[in-house]
Amino acid sequence: MARIQSPPILSQIRVARSYSEQTVALRALKDEVIGHVQRKEKWIENGILESLVKTLQNPPVHHIPPRDHAVEVTPLSEKDVVRLQSLQLLASFANGGPSFLGPLHAVGAIPTILSHISPPENPPQVILTALRALSNIADATRLAPPGQDDITVLSNQLFTHQHISSLWRIMIQNSHDMVIQEQKCVVASLISRLCKGPEHQNMLAEHGIIDALARMLATIVVSRGEVVPGAEIIGRSDGLAEYIPEPAPLGISLALVLEAISTVIADSRFRACALLSSPFIMAVFPSADFSPPAKETKAAWSVLEMSGMSSHRAKIPGAMDYLLPIVPITQHRSLSSQFPHFPPLGFSPSRESLVLGRQSSMPKFTGWDPNRLDSASLSGDAEANDPESPLVPWLINLVRSTDGLERVMAASVLASLFKAGFTNPEREAALGQLVVPLLCLLIAEHDNEITPAALNSAFIEQETALDWAILERTPEVLARLVADSEYLQQAAHDCGVMKVVYKLLRESYEPMMVQSAPRPWSPSPDHDAEIREGLPTCRIGSPGQLPIYAHKVKMRESTLKLIAGMVTFKDEYRKELADQEMVPCIVESLSASPQKPRSAKDQPKADKMAEDTDRPIKDSQYGVNPDSVIIAACHVIRILGRSVSNLRTALEDHGVAMPIFRLLRHPVAEVQISACGAVCNLVTSSSPMREPLLAAGVLKVLCEHAHSLNPGLRLNSMWALKSLVNAVENNLKKQALEELESGWLVQLICDDTEDEALHTRMRLERRNPNDEDEDMDTETMDDGSRPTLSPSSHPGSQFMFVANPREPLRLQRAKRKVATLREAELNPTRKARNDDLAIQEQGLNFIRNLIGLPSMPAQMAEMVDYIFNELGQDRLFEILASKLKVKVLHAYGRKFSANNSGVAAVPDPRVLYPQAKVIEAVVYVLVHIAASIPQHRQLVIAQTELLKLLGGHLNSLDMDVRRALCHLSTNLAYQEDDADAHACQQRAMELRKLGFLAKLEGLEQSDVDLDVRERAKAAVWQLKSTP
């Protein structure tokens, strides 16, 4: 072994006369640097990386592709050995940690490595080593100093059409060879670590990665002997038998496969459905009747059934159900109200989060329900009563029978399926009683004391690393599981998980004394003192964070998510959170450079606040919070803000307002959106923070955001403005409208801004003649604006949710369902439409709040006049009427010819039906105008056209619309004073003439909703009392 770094090796590598000579040199170098950080640094400074990349850039030898999917490991050619050694060296340098990332990026190591991952051009060992090198770079990136730890740089390079195809090909290889198994595991773990956000998730889904992962999962199911009994017979009859795979060879890790699956399918019905509709999953988990060999089991089910503690569905349990203990369902719950909120039916995340942010003080608002949109094209949901896949009980059983990461990951996949509504409603009980307690236990069990060694070392013991991995993931999984279900929240609360989570969050804010790992001692100390300079390819970067830092920051994000997930429903949990003195930690999480969490008493005085404004981002002993932590903290604040008592005490005492206000100006749009969401609740009339926020200039910032190009930001800022102008002085209201600009408000309400923008974009695309086939594929996929998916040259295209008439019927049907959900979720037209509608609704609500409350009739009248003046009286009524009518949008032709794909192209011309939420908002604007002085009531009643349209909506399917119309009728028929008597009589007459009375009487008699019946009664009384 060479003792000192010897230039001969370098020159030998650079100018080797033969491959074998080069190999000898590379091997020697390997012995030299593996495990020796100091020597790696020296070698990098000598420019070794460039030489390595150069040896790899020689055009690769084209292997004769071996037989399809079956890979044999053959001895490597001499040239391949050189490539293998060079890749091993790159992987080893990447192991050196974050300080080597700079030079690695500078020499272009990643593209070079990526050019070696595609089978079959590269031999398996080379692919494996290349994947490991990527994996090491990903690991190093995780620990890079704040600001440079953006993993998406790497993921954007990996997740391109070309490389995802390579990953797909790696995953579908059929081989028992260990190297291949290892490749698959590294790919799965790369996906888990690098796939961030819906863009990547959808890209992976469209390239058949879900299917490939499903196949890996199915092989594991087979090797565990847990295929549904009779699956093969069923498969033979419905043609899916060929999809039952061989048992998984040794060495495939279940936890890794599950983690990758859950990473890709999370937060989407479309992708969850793609998993369930994978032929491999359908083949090993067919829904089949099952008679257990032991009669007792069946008897136990029957007993529960008879005592009413089980449900009708359980009558035909499948084989998998018998693996689980029977869970009695003791309480009556209605689940149906929870699922429609699920975002995939066309929500962008901002919208979904906004729904979460609705205020408790507002009339019950169940969020935007896109189910009501274009229900015809959602026909896929008609198949919603498909039987639940036995994958669900299998996963529950897996959670129960495994431990550690496998348990977490099984629960994670389960959570995604549950949230997507692919589980039976009765499963909620099983999740609450069988899964949630185990997850809570897992957190408690792995919350071990951190050893002193782990506090200041770059190397973390395996057990500690496992503890951390579980602690970092479990709260997030639990949060996803419980967020929509009060029952599951209670189950988790009963398990005492919050205590542990509070402790974990508090611990994550304990100061860390050691900033970076101790440097190795050097026998020649002058080296360390050298100022690192030179070419970027040879310059060593800063050492990065200690693993403990990264862990603590991750814990903050994870625990904040769980806290937010736990307090969405119950006020008592919110109160408990405040009582436990958790708010200081949450407030610090709003800052990129947190400090010691301060209790309410230690809050700085208002005058000191100013200095606080711009804390420089620097390494402190409290670490640096990335955007993800800040966003998570904003969510918690928003949900806490739903409780008036919290607004007045905990949030106010801990000075939440200013940190949130600062975030409104954050450079990252996502953070701005979240901060806007939190502001919605902080500026309500019951909040003591409204004044300071107004003084700080919140109005101006929000109005600016309302002009933003980002629809999410526009929506949230309109929402906040709407809350802000509720119950304030008229001057402020006028100022708000002035700042927002009345023209812009009209535009927000009227125009389908997003829709137009999309339309323009598509027209431009159409004009571009070059934009055919492949080019367009890659271009448009990135901004998600491609409405349909045409099968491309990707080898996985046969999986891309396009039913093929030659395939088994069951598979075709499943694929059609996936295609429908995909259309519902990814169709940009639909997304744009939803964005527009949500913003329009908030705009209308803004007007409604501008008008104000009837408790102060004078102010109200003043505002109505002001608005008429600003927006134009006729114009306003015109707009309101237009919202009640069917609208035909620009009739652009089909961009994508229907290629027998079974995926609906954009229908043309587009007809938009009035939407319940917008109608409701329109009606309430009128209700408020009609609550003003009689003169304004007269104005409303004079809008015959408008009233006719409204009368039609008295039969609306939406309860809220019907109720609103009852209010309107009552207000219109109200007699202010004697002077109003005649006019009032006229108004009542007019309403009768328009058929309101008859319809209202109908509602009073037979409406399904009690509240509507009561309101109708009041309206009818009011109408009849006027002679």
Binding site: M1, R3, R27, K30, D31, I34, G35, Q38, Q88, A91, S92, N95, R132, H176, M178, E182, L250, G251, S253, A453, S457, A458, F459, A517, P518, R519, P520, W521, S522, P523
Partner: protein
Amino acid sequence: MSSGNANLDLAGFDLDSSVQLRDFIFAQFAEDLGRMTSSTSTATPLKHAFEARVVDVKSPKSDINALILDYLTMEGYPKAAAKFSKEANLRPQQDGPLITARQEIKDAILNGNIEVAITALNELEPEILDKDPKLHFSLLRLQLVELIRQCNGGDITPALDFATKKLAPRAAMNQDFLKDLEKTMALLIFPHDNLAPELGALLRSDLRQTTATKVNEAILERQARRREAAIRQLVRMRAWAETSARSKKKDLPDRIELGLFGEDGDYHENGHEPMITT
């Protein structure tokens, strides 16, 4: 239980009869288990209900064979594993060359050729030493011990040099490393024939043995995601089960035979055939 005491030399084992082989392996575990279970009283003359249940349990021959192949593979006996898998008609768990490479590394460590072992390890699994500084340190320390052994009484420069360049930088990063290094360096000062037991242990072959085992486990973990042969876990589980059953005062015979050897159990009397026949 460390695998050190089950170090069989099966590489050249003549596998004419796998019954013989089975006995050989089981004897090792009988020994291990004997140390774990405390019961030593003589067998009760009356047949216990537990034993009747034991008789009812039939272990499939294929499972037992798989267990043996697993042991041979994991512990690194390539030839025996190859022959056995052929004979028992099982798919080999790992390729012969992989097992051989692992065995060679192990042998190199056992023979004190640490440098050779490190080079071979870097060739086989280049990630291991990068990702496990502890293992790397223990290998390097073993190399230092070997160097000290070589310079016994003579020139200590090579050893000093090695310690300065390879070990000292690491010792600064970890308290445990520092202690270990200091202890090892003490070997340079004290005469080897009269060492404190703590220091003497460093010169015994145990250190090579445990290091070799650690390296073997690390390679296995990377290649097969398991550290040891399945049978080791079974043996531990059996011991645990018996101990916990006894501590809970379950109704058990005073002594539970392993049943590994046909001649010492009750199996023949009951007409139960030996678990493996070939």
